[in-house]
């Protein structure tokens, strides 16, 4: 069957098997491997992407069900061309506050954070912890992830990337 959806602002149309999961559509069909594929049981949350602005576990959604919808992955967080663009405040926050160690959970964490801040620009700590409670991090103990999201909330205008600073 044919599916058409907008991924990070670009419309894509592909022939897929109905049983193709959204996470594999993104990673394998489109080559967007920034979305990680983890537990496969909708528990760990590393596969979270935004569908119509809402965090969704892409291992538990079909590409077919996403036909006609708008998807945002971690590749769609930074504004502008890869390498030369502007990081999303959430990405900058994860850098500033060391919100990752191994980085496996990071794409899902950042997209959930983005959706939270879009809905609630100044969340308290409990709200942040609740928002990411469906996602597992085995490195940080969550403390630095919470601080990263707080940093992003405190710096809503995208910060310049290192490259731009150097330039």
């Amino acid at each position: 069957m044919q599916v058409t959806m907008t991924v990070n602002g670009t419309e894509v149309t592909r022939d897929v098997e109905p049983r193709l999961l959204l996470v594999h559509f993104l990673r394998e069909t489109l080559g967007l491997t920034g979305t990680h594929w983890g537990c496969d049981t909708s528990n760990c949350g590393t596969c979270v992407v935004l569908v119509d602005g809402e965090p969704v576990k892409s291992c538990t959604a079909l590409a077919a069900m996403t036909d006609g919808h708008e998807v945002r992955t971690v590749e769609g967080l930074a504004q502008g061309a890869a390498g030369g663009g502007t990081l999303d405040p959430v990405q900058q926050g994860f850098m500033e506050e060391h919100g990752l160690q191994c980085g496996f959970c990071t794409p899902g964490m950042m997209l959930t954070a983005r959706a939270l801040l879009d809905r609630e620009p100044d969340p308290d700590e409990a709200t942040i912890r609740e928002a990411i409670s469906g996602q597992i991090c085995r490195c940080t103990g969550y403390a630095t992830i919470v601080r990263s999201i707080q940093w992003a909330a405190a710096h809503p205008a995208a910060a310049p990337t290192e490259q731009e600073v150097v330039a």
């Binding site: 069957m1 098997e17 109905p18 049983r19 999961l21 496969d40 049981t41 909708s42 528990n43 949350g45 979270v48 809402e54 965090p55 969704v56 576990k57 538990t60 959604a61 079909l62 077919a64 069900m65 036909d67 959930t112 609740e130 928002a131 409670s133 469906g134 996602q135």
Partner: protein, 293 residues
């Protein structure tokens, strides 16, 4: 890698269209809404539908409407929408209590009330909530629409009154004046199924006595309501002694099984303790103060 067995996919454009698709594709066709119960089962090959009928576009099944004496909730209403609804929280605080501990916030963006009830997992929270609120489920099929009480809808683990060629369209909650409700669950971690949970609804009469009560248990081996436990409350003034007696009877009515979430005596203890807590909270919410023992 977990991948579902091959199937065909169709997207329904209306309730009628969904029914026609189910009819056309026969007994191996299955409705999908949020997919957070069905897709995991398909990945494990515990479910192998030949056709999936996607009803996510049916906006007519996504409403929360307060009518005279009844709150009507469309079957496709997401958990997140129930949790975000002020009218739901005001009329039925038990729904918010439960929704806060159903799965996790991301899963709640997809899972639906109709899907939860239809899946009928014995550790599923909304079944207990609907039992306690004496909700009704609206089912449409080739023969038209019928309205069934939740007690009748729920036929046991993974089994409901909704036939393969039918669709759950709405859940109706009767609004009762002077009533309140509460739910509490013990889970090992966020997103896990309940070790045990309890729900209660109470209605106070004008004279301050309990006019009506309902108690339900989740994951504790009780089908339907704990009727004996609720019966001791009716006609009485709220007190700690009374709550303790009802909780004792609720625990007695439970028949938990030992599993990786805990042994039988622990779960029976939870049945008692959680029943006390939800009765206390429901009574507090309705403005009654239980006299200390």
């Amino acid at each position: 890698m977990q991948v579902p067995a091959p199937f065909e996919y169709a997207r329904a454009t209306s309730v009628q269209d969904a029914l026609e698709l189910l009819e056309r594709h026969g007994p191996e066709s299955h409705v999908i809404a949020g997919g957070h119960s069905l897709l995991p089962m398909m990945k494990l090959r515990l479910a192998r539908p030949e056709w999936l009928i996607d009803i996510n576009d049916l906006a007519e099944l996504r409403h929360i409407t307060e009518d005279a004496g009844v709150l009507r909730v469309g079957a496709l209403t997401r958990h997140a929408a129930l949790l975000g609804s002020d009218v739901v929280g005001r009329l039925f605080p038990i729904v918010h209590d439960a929704e806060k501990v159903i799965a996790d916030p991301v899963v709640r963006n997809r899972g639906t009330i109709g899907g939860s009830l239809g899946q009928a997992d014995p550790a599923e929270d909304l079944t207990t909530v609907c039992d306690v609120l004496r909700a009704q489920v609206v089912i449409v099929g080739p023969a038209g629409e019928r309205v069934v009480d939740v007690a009748e809808f729920h036929r046991g683990p993974y089994e409901t009154a909704c036939e393969q060629n039918e669709l759950i369209t709405e859940v109706r909650f009767p609004i009762r004046t002077g009533s309140a409700s509460a739910y509490e669950k013990v889970e090992r971690r966020v997103g896990d199924w309940a070790v045990a949970a309890a729900g209660a609804a109470v209605q106070l009469g004008d004279d301050g006595t309990i006019a009506d009560a309902a108690i339900g248990l989740t994951a504790l081996g009780l089908e339907g309501l704990a009727t004996d436990a609720a019966a001791v409350l009716v006609g009485q003034r709220p007190s700690e002694d009374l709550i303790a007696e009802a909780a004792r009877l609720a625990a007695e009515a439970s028949s938990p099984v030992e599993d990786q979430r805990g042994p039988v005596d622990y779960k029976r203890h939870l049945a008692d303790e959680l029943t006390r807590r939800v009765l206390r909270r429901a009574l507090e919410r309705v403005g009654a103060t239980a006299t200390a023992a």
